[in-house]
């Protein structure tokens, strides 16, 4: 073991923690604290070379304390990373909730989810995502919590939401490059919808490639300015879902006589999906496409051109055994470091006793040059 590394905390977390402590010890608190602990062992192997790749042991504490008009929630994680031989202490989530008559305020490190899609993202842009991560149990585990302030205001028809978030830690952006966004969402008879607008700094794969080609040291995070929305619709055995967003002045790479240049262009992204429930199965099909608006010559897209996923899930033995099969295809632009990928991602989870859970899976790359990996995970909750 080499070091104990603490992931940097910023002022927002400090303010949250201090406010929480003041609230805890100066107000008359009703309600009880809830604490649960989890130990997770995880190992991943190279499927082709049958070699160990990575393993870690993680301790996670969940602390919830509800009081009259709010809640305090902390989830720190202590992880031993065998590859780096480091102990990492990370505040995965930590926030203070304040509940008012018609509004809720959440302040601190949090995951905020927009949209109806599973695994693929169009408008779910608030939180940064892990990259180069080893196989994950659930695709949504890839999100990294943001330090943010979220205000929800409730009306008879739905919820108005306003978000202010600090830039992702990995971005090294200044706080004046913060993200902000607004959402209106409603659940209704047979139909739910969201209307969203915002600007959040997001990792840009194309800029990363460009920097590597040109030796540039440009930021690889750029603002995503968008308006969009989502819906889900009950059609009996089916649930139809969709997302769409119009992005303004997105950064793209354009090949010119002087070499590659960064230019801005608009893009429309659309996702359509269907969840089908035949008997004990859940079959989920999703397709996402991006369309450049008034595409100039020699413009190269960032991100994927299209993403398509098929998921088949079934539970056995009173939901104790769950089996998921994902097939994901990503169509990428022809840029260095980018290639089409077809991934088969089966997952198996077995719940031994409400405390002990075993999970295993494979990220098998059928098309593309990425490494195929297999993993297993053992989780104990107490």
């Amino acid at each position: 073991m080499k070091t104990l590394r603490t992931v940097k905390s910023n002022n927002l977390i400090l303010i949250t923690a201090l406010t929480a402590v003041i609230l805890l010890y100066t107000s008359s608190i009703v309600g009880a604290a809830y604490i649960s602990q989890k130990i997770t062992g995880y190992s991943a192997f190279d499927l082709e070379k049958s070699a160990d790749l990575y393993s870690d042991l993680e301790y996670e504490l969940t602390f919830e304390h509800r009081f009259n008009k709010g809640q305090l929630y902390f989830k720190p994680k202590l992880k031993f990373d065998s590859a780096k031989e480091e102990l990492e202490l990370d505040l995965y989530e930590g926030y203070l909730d304040l509940f008012f008559q018609d509004a809720d305020l959440r302040l601190g490190r949090q995951i905020i989810t927009w949209g109806k899609a599973d695994g693929l993202t169009v408008i779910n842009l608030i939180n940064d995502q892990h990259r180069g991560i080893h196989p994950i149990v659930d695709p949504d585990d890839s999100f990294i919590a943001s330090d943010a302030l979220k205000l929800d205001y409730y009306t008879a028809g739905g919820t108005w939401e306003a978000i202010f978030s600090l830039p992702p830690e990995a971005s090294n952006l200044n706080s004046d490059r913060s993200g902000y966004g607004f959402r209106y969402s409603a659940l209704g008879m047979g139909f739910d919808y969201e209307i969203t607008a915002g600007s959040f700094p997001q990792y840009n794969l194309m800029l990363d490639s460009y920097n590597r080609i040109t030796g540039n040291s440009e930021f690889v995070y750029r603002d995503q300015n968008f308006i969009g929305g989502s819906f889900s619709n009950d059609l009996g055995s089916f649930v139809l879902k969709g997302e769409g967003a119009y992005f303004f002045d997105r950064d793209y790479l354009q090949q010119t006589d002087q070499g590659p240049q960064i230019v801005e262009n608009d893009e429309l992204e659309v996702l359509l999906g269907i969840d089908f429930y035949p008997g004990d199965y859940l079959i989920s099909l999703q397709a996402k496409e991006g369309f450049l608006i008034d595409e100039p010559d020699n413009l190269r897209r960032d991100k994927s051109i299209g993403e398509y996923s098929l998921m088949i899930q079934r539970s056995f033995w009173r939901d104790n055994l769950s089996v998921e099969n994902w097939l994901i295809y990503r169509e990428m632009p022809t840029l260095p470091g980018m290639e089409n990928t077809l991934l088969w991602r089966p997952r198996l989870t077995y719940d031994f006793s409400d405390r002990l859970t075993f999970a295993a899976g494979v990220d098998h790359v059928i098309e593309g040059s990425k490494r195929s990996e297999i993993f297993y995970q053992l989780e104990y909750i107490f």
């Binding site: 509800r66 919820t159 659940l187 209704g188 047979g190 055995s237 009173r318 909750i381």
Partner: protein, 261 residues
Amino acid sequence: MRNKIIFTGVILLVLITAFGTALAADLSGEEIMKKVYNRETGDSRTANLKMILVNKQGSKRIREIKQFEKDFGEVDKKIMFFISPADVRNTSFMNWSYDSEQSDDQWIFLPALNKVKRISSENKSDYFMGSDFTYDDLGDRTLAEDEHKLIGEDTIHDKEVYVVENIPVAEDDLYSRTVTYVWKDKWIGLKKEFYDREGELLKVLTVNEVKEISGILTIVDSEMHNLQNEHRTILKNSEVEYNTSIDANLFSERMMKRGIQ
């Protein structure tokens, strides 16, 4: 003259008793089940549910849920908050059931995804949280989904009951038939047998305790026994309250995400 009055009284009593018996006996299976479905259950209900799942080896798993229901006239709304075990804590489930032909609306909030997700309402024959109860068994079934036939009378724990056979209208139903033992004059089921599609006895629901709460008969302890795989689910209701002023805003995306204290 006195004897005449007594005689007339006796005759009247006999007639009333006979007429009353004939009235009861004349009730059809449909009418009995209609009384069961239409029994007073209050405009709103709050309860703590404890489900004890017992497998063949006798090992137990316990699930605790806080449940709220409210009748809004044309729509009944229900929301459940999962309290334990830890791996499902803060999960919530909401159902809106309509008096019209409109399909139910159902949503689930999964804290790990931090997302309220609409799910199909066509899963009423799914087992609820790994228990021996399907969503239908827990009260989502309607009178019109079965044909009802009175097949006899019996006694359960000294209580007189009607025995009614219920045959599903839909051919693809989970059960080929069920038999309900309805407590006479109280219109509450005290036992129910469930037969699988092959006609074999699959499960038996036994009511262990009924309490009168706010004037409403309430099953507070029951057990569903799956005879084919020797699995049992004991369902206990506690802190049951009726007709309390549940805020309509409880049945919302906000509360699904926020959870309950």
